[in-house]
Amino acid sequence: MLNTSKIASSATIDFYSANTSSELALPLIEGGIVAGFPSPAQDYIDLKIDLNKALISNPSSTFYGRVKGSSMQDAGILDGDILVIDKSLEPQDGDTAVCFIDGEFTIKYIKIDPDAVYLIPANSKFQPIKITEENNFCIWGVVTYSIKNHKRKG
């Protein structure tokens, strides 16, 4: 996925150098990760991770949204998370999608049966919704990533 160079690994995390030419870039703190490691980064100083490029394959059809509510909490999508939504993708059965139904945007799993479409929540407190002709409905875009702030307080 990433056209870049792995510069260090540990049991749980691989380290890459990061591309700072773009706004979402992450710079790697120079030389201070593993004591005594001969810095292999020197040869690869120009190779960086660009999260924009890694997470967004179709920039012109990608939009962001912010989650409000908890109906997708078991999918790890919580209130306040930022969604990366790609409108160019053909919705597939089981995708997480942003849908527009009866006047508002909602996020759900979509279940595409031969005879009907269902919106499935990821929270047992909520009920699946069967889409009927009565509904003003469209699948607005497919969710490709969600971004959450793990240090967020309250």
Binding site: F63, Y64, G65, G69, S71, G103, T106, I107, N136, C138
Partner: protein
């Protein structure tokens, strides 16, 4: 062959992408300061809301028919335009952005491709990927592609694509095309032509070349040839009434902000000059830069910035100032830039009325400053641009009460997705 892709009711469509409940409902978009209607959805057109009408005159019509009113959100429209254009650009080797919502494609080497199928694919892809519905006209000349586009929009049966690729289809189309709707024939010439019983594009093509040349000069002759299927207007021709574009390939590849600034400042000055020449003002400025897309072995970058001006202007200092601000915000180091440009749109005629704010003396001064500015800028470039920029310190507060959020460009404004049911 040429293709013309045009967004359907572009501003209204942009608002609908983020508010699909408005599909099928009447929408109008107002100009700067919420003054006049500058865009309408089809439903608003059907209600008889005229273009350019001051909003206060429409109060009853708007309230009585539940018309949704928006202030113009050029940041949103500019970003959506960029998305549409980027998507379109993947379908042909050469594209010319004609206005914020229109682009020509050069369809050379497409002999073995079914044009209708191709057009449908373009229309479907742009509509799906961006949410903006578009129509496409395909024909042997730009003027005919424009005409084809009109039909693609007008008749739902075409499903957004109309191809004029035979003489038979061309004849049919031209007979249905009012002379006043022909690209390149203005209102004055249309009136004149009607006087000579030239009522449709077809009538026009039946006149002799010498008659056309005599009546309308070389421009008319070019339109005549184009309507008859002989391409005369090439890609990149940049005179348009809807917008003025000044863009050039740089003499050499530029990598630094400074020389690019100089070029952009000159482009902006050039736009201002053109505006003054035709006695008009602009309220939206777009600045863009890009690398050479054909140099695939080099890192690619392309970006643009749309700036809504606080007041409509043709003041060189103001336009340069905004263009350079825009450039600064999109310039990235580490690329070899090939081309840049400035496009001004939302062009309105200079009205003496607007001069009310200034007394005659001020206006005179203003004009003098402009002339001096132009001359200095032409001879000295950057240094004088600096002086011009420092002279600019007007802060007007815009009235835009019905502004939609900048859904695509501001993190605080992104769509709220409910997970509450």
């Amino acid at each position: 062959m040429f293709g013309l892709i045009d967004c359907n009711n572009f501003y209204a469509s942009c608002e609908r992408v983020f508010n699909p409940a408005l599909n099928g409902k009447p929408i109008v978009v107002l100009s700067n300061n919420d003054g006049c209607v500058i865009a309408r959805s089809t439903e608003a057109k059907i209600l008889g809301i005229p273009m350019g009408e001051p909003a206060y005159k429409l109060k009853e019509l708007i309230e009585g028919n539940q018309v949704t009113v928006f202030s113009s959100n050029y940041v949103l429209y500019g970003d959506m335009s960029h998305r549409v254009m980027t998507t379109i650009s993947e379908f042909a080797p050469e594209m010319e952005i004609y206005s914020i919502d229109e682009a020509f494609l050069l369809l050379e080497g497409f002999q073995h491709i079914d044009m209708k199928t191709y057009g449908k694919k373009v229309v479907r892809t742009v509509t799906r990927n961006t949410g903006i519905p578009v129509s496409m006209g395909i024909a042997p000349t730009k003027t005919l592609a424009k005409a084809a586009n009109r039909f693609a929009k007008k008749y739902p049966n075409y499903k957004g694509v109309c191809v004029i690729d035979t003489d038979e289809k061309r004849g049919k189309a031209l007979k249905l095309l009012d002379i006043g709707d022909v690209w390149g024939i203005g209102r004055q010439y249309a009136t004149k032509l009607r006087y000579y019983s030239v009522n449709t594009a077809w009538d026009f093509t039946q006149r002799t070349k010498s008659w056309v040349r005599h009546t309308m000069g070389v421009t008319g002759e070019r339109t005549w040839l184009e309507l008859r299927g002989t391409p005369c207007i090439e890609m990149d021709r940049s005179t348009t009434k809807k917008s003025i574009c000044t863009s050039r390939s740089f003499g050499e590849r530029l990598t630094e902000l400074e020389p690019i600034s100089e070029a952009i400042a000159n482009f902006a000055a050039n736009c201002a000059e053109k505006l003054r020449k035709q006695k008009s003002l602009t309220s939206v400025l777009l600045v863009f830069i890009h690398t050479n897309p054909h140099a695939t072995n080099q890192p690619q970058y392309s970006n643009q910035k749309v700036i809504q001006l606080p007041v409509a202007t043709n003041d060189t200092t103001e336009l340069i100032n905004f263009a350079l601000q825009g450039l600064k915000s999109i310039f990235e180091k580490g690329y070899r830039y090939k081309k840049g440009g400035v496009i001004v749109s939302e062009i309105v005629p200079e009205r003496p009325l607007q001069g009310n704010l200034f007394d005659t003396k001020d206006r005179e001064k203003f004009n003098k400053v402009m002339t001096v500015m132009d001359n200095l800028n032409a001879s000295y470039g950057k240094q004088k641009v600096k002086i011009a920029a420092q002279g600019f310190d007007r802060k007007w507060k815009l009235k835009n009460e019905k502004l939609s959020p900048c859904y695509t460009t501001k993190l605080e404004d992104i769509l709220e997705i409910k997970a509450e049911k």
